[in-house]
Symmetry: C3
Subunit: 314 residues, 3 copies
């Protein structure tokens, strides 16, 4: 934890939401809220990181997340270097640390890093110079903190800031999901107590990820009276791996339909981190329906990433 | 059609030149002409789209067209996001519409879209928000409107604006060519009446694309007295598909040589959309000769794309 | 040579350091030195190439070198177009010259070119318009002039400008190395007389590359009393090609260890162009040790590339 906070409590890296102090987390949400509206003069915002170079260093490709960070950094006036480490020197046998240290030596101060291995971004953060800041844009199954933040911002906009009063269900492949883990970290920090987890046993984590959550394998029961439904993407590989019997069965048991959603409160909201498998974990009528906040999540993603980059680099 | 024009006649999207009102088309050419010279102060031009984000969303790769749009948007001061949809979420099963809606939610207002399917860009335009504008950068065999515009600008610079007085021949694989279709749309709108089409039967369209054109299968006859020769690229796949017997035969029958070009008027001009297959559809001596406007087309491409992006987004 | 200098001696292209006048070379080093520190106001530096478009045109991929040039151009205020020619029109049969002429026609004035063939960048420079400048970012085994310059700047910072007093050894696969060739060109121009070359016979050049150098096949002997050790990367392909017996043997005979480095002067410095094969040509303790200037080289790379782009385009 001390790796991501300066002694005086300011953010140094953003690696995980686990253990991140509530005031730091809420500070980021507040700032993202300001940046998401029209209250801020875009020209002034564009001076915040003018002349600062930010590198999106992706060891695992993700066009969407990379684009969101690129737009966030650009709006703050930063220069953005896209470094696709999955096809570069790293594949020539260079270590990830050497790649980082090299780009750092070129004068880049901020790194947005995605890596397929749990904990890889923290290892890189340890190797970084004092003036360098890293944002974890997803590592293994561990964490995807800006996704967690944007989900919280989206919930807060819809439901207000009293998380203790909210019933939230997370549905799907929680076992392999860094999104779910970051959401759980944030929900706990914000005081949410009724957190439900739902999915087939084979896709639920064996470790203590779900500590304090109520676990359901029946989706109808899990949805009963909830305020927030957080759907997860089902990777089709899970079928090849034998973790689910078929896509059709998965949809029958865990797909969110309009009918099922009626079990939640009438003004319940639906989130999904994207990209969606329409007709698998979520039906069109829900994805495009009045309770869906899915595109709002995407919009909030840029604002949250601006707030994070500003906190780290401005 | 109404999809690409606002009620008051202003351009909303640029999807096709088919049916685009003559005054809109000429307005774009006039503005491109202004932007192509040194009359405009580059610093002032760079303010036209300052703070606006434009995404090049290519479902089919094309480095060249993407670069031309990127330079055009950059010169107008826009932020450019290159989104290679052929290797991104779309390949993870996300629909093209969801990809568009996502990037739109990130605050991007302009989209330059290439897609391998006819009509795909119009489908995306229908799904877009009111404040979003799309430019078709090539869809299937249907349309490539900015190529049509840049060809018209190039002809107009060389031959003046009286298209009714011009004899124009289009040579090659018209059947598979979106360039040819956009050229035909524009030539008709601009009043050109002597339009000739030439190519082997197997590469001529079976539909009504060539309505009103004079069709030739003999290139010498087709070139007789023309003012403008528009050559098309021959995709080498056409041989595998059995549509032409051999590259050598194609060159013998439809390759533009200096000798053949003498059948046109002495000051006839030669266009080619690139990339060229030198020695196949066009000889070096023609491509690099005094009648070639091929690089002028490329230069005009940036100016035309600036004019289009400005019309849609400024 | 005249290809890269204007009649009045100013730089027109940077293709090779071979034969580049000493005053031009030192002028670039002096300017890079200024740009590498904090003496220059970044806002003013960013005006030097404002509105100028620079294209990184890589026919052979290299994320690292491309990134260094991109950051250099961006800091000078240029617009950067990354054109990956290894996956573009060139692969559709377009010649490299046509690709260059096309991007030039789009209004790009500076080109940073990497190509797998010796002399390819010079051929492109001959085809370029009068107002266009090319930088060779590596062609075949011939030259990588900005790497040579950044190596010289790094040596000069550590050892002062009296190259005649320095003992320098280059170790490794000199035969296939454009880095070694550019280093040799620069060292000779700067007056270095004690230049040593060391590597297995199979990896030493058969031509006159090493003229005037003392050739060693024993690394211990070669290191004796040197001031500067320039290590080269070993491509693992050399084993498949039968040029070395095994990676282990190579490391045993030519890997730089702390123990071996003791044969050099106590304040000898170690350079490596990267990416490193740790444990092959260089040990961790050397790469990360107090005598290593490897990250300083990377930092100097950006400054040198800024100086070169400014000299060519400002």
């Amino acid at each position: 934890m001390s790796l991501q906070l300066h002694d005086h409590g300011r953010l140094r890296h953003l690696l995980t939401l686990e253990g991140l102090p509530r005031e730091v987390l809420c500070g980021l949400l507040d700032r993202a809220q300001q940046l998401s509206g029209h209250a801020q003069d875009p020209t002034r915002v564009r001076e915040l990181l003018a002349g600062t170079a930010v590198c999106t260093l992706f060891f695992e490709p993700s066009t969407r997340t990379r684009s969101s960070f690129q737009l966030a950094a650009t709006r703050l006036g930063a220069d953005v270097l896209a470094f696709d480490a999955s096809t570069s020197s790293t594949s020539k046998g260079e270590t990830a640390i050497d790649t980082l240290k090299n780009i750092e030596a070129m004068g880049v101060r901020g790194f947005v890093v995605r890596h397929q291995l749990d904990g890889a971004v923290a290892v890189l953060a340890e190797a970084a110079d004092a003036g360098t800041a890293l944002v974890n844009a997803g590592d293994g199954r561990s964490a995807h903190p800006t996704q967690g933040l944007l989900d919280m911002l989206t919930i807060r906009q819809a439901k207000g800031g009293d998380f203790a009063a909210l019933k939230v269900v997370i549905v799907g492949d929680i076992r392999h999901s860094r999104v779910a883990r970051s959401d759980l970290h944030a929900l706990r920090t914000l005081g949410c107590v009724d957190i439900r987890a739902c999915g087939p046993r084979s896709l639920l984590p064996a470790d203590d990820t779900l500590q304090g959550c109520t676990v359901f394998d029946d989706l109808d029961a899990a949805l009963d009276g909830v305020d927030v439904v957080m759907m997860l993407r089902l990777q089709r590989e899970r079928m090849q791996e034998g973790l689910i019997s078929s896509i059709d069965d998965y949809h029958r048991d865990y797909g969110l339909t309009v009918e099922r959603l009626r079990r939640a409160t009438p003004d319940a909201v639906v989130l999904h981190p994207g990209p969606m498998n329409r007709g698998v974990e979520i039906d069109d009528a829900v994805a495009d329906g009045p309770q869906s906040l899915i595109l709002r999540q995407v919009a909030n993603g840029v604002a949250v990433r601006m707030a994070v980059l500003e906190a780290l680099l401005a």
